[in-house]
Symmetry: C2
Subunit: 152 residues, 2 copies
């Protein structure tokens, strides 16, 4: 797939990522490293929690969603995160779930402070194999214009 620059996007563009399967091993490994809470760590203890079973850390879901977004948009020189708003996890992610990210470009504009860079505002919705929404977020990234290439 072609690499993208700011110039290649417009308001209203929509993208769908490839699917990504979540394994129990990865879910527990992420939790051990970054979110050591019992409903992310231990199947036995998670079964006694309000989730009635192991669920992924929201930060793991966010990280997997980032991977799918990066792969899908495939920015030639990367996208620099300016901030995230309204990050929500309306349904739990469980071992074996298959995630996919749907991206909608909400707004694009040139950067005022950095010539040759553009700002992209988008919404990412992460869904599972049943179409249930497991994460939503609004975010802004800075992405170079094609003409800026020689500067980089």
């Amino acid at each position: 797939m072609n690499e993208r620059y700011f110039d290649d996007l417009k308001r209203g563009d929509r993208f769908k990522s490839e699917p990504l399967r979540v394994t129990e091993k990865e879910l527990i490994e992420f939790a051990h490293r970054f979110d050591p809470q019992m409903f992310h760590l231990s199947r036995r203890r998670a079964e006694r929690s309000i989730f009635k079973g192991l669920i992924a850390s929201g930060w793991h879901t966010a990280a997997m969603s980032m991977r799918l977004f990066v792969q899908t948009l495939n920015f030639a020189e990367g996208a620099i995160g300016l901030g995230v708003d309204e990050l929500r996890w309306p349904n739990a992610v469980r071992p074996g779930d298959v995630l996919m990210v749907e991206t909608a470009i909400l707004k694009i504009r040139l950067s005022k402070s950095r010539p040759g860079q553009g700002i992209i505002r988008f919404r990412n919705v992460t869904v599972n194999q049943r179409g249930e929404v497991v994460q939503t977020m609004l975010a802004s990234v800075m992405v170079p214009k094609r003409a800026a290439r020689a500067i980089g």
Copy 2:
């Protein structure tokens, strides 16, 4: 340290986490898995980016901050993430940086829909060894009351 329940917190409480050192190996490993962009992946390519060197994925910073928060607050039955707002990364995290999370409890209330649970609104600020802010966020979590223990 004692495990905490909703009952143990009040508005205005402040906490400081232990320090956590970010290694180049972990930074690159996280990027390979979740945020494969050149300024997170390769020292050589990152040196030619606007960051002039390797920086951590914002999602890695968020995940490390979660670990420090979880360890510090030490909720007896975990804290369930209800959502995050205004997640920002005002300064880059680089290999060798030492991160610390400062938590301020902004608001607490009982859950309307789930008896025995409370909702905590807090701000986490992640700083590096020079006191520079590398991440800020507002978030809400649901935490059980001590009396709800028998239900769990």
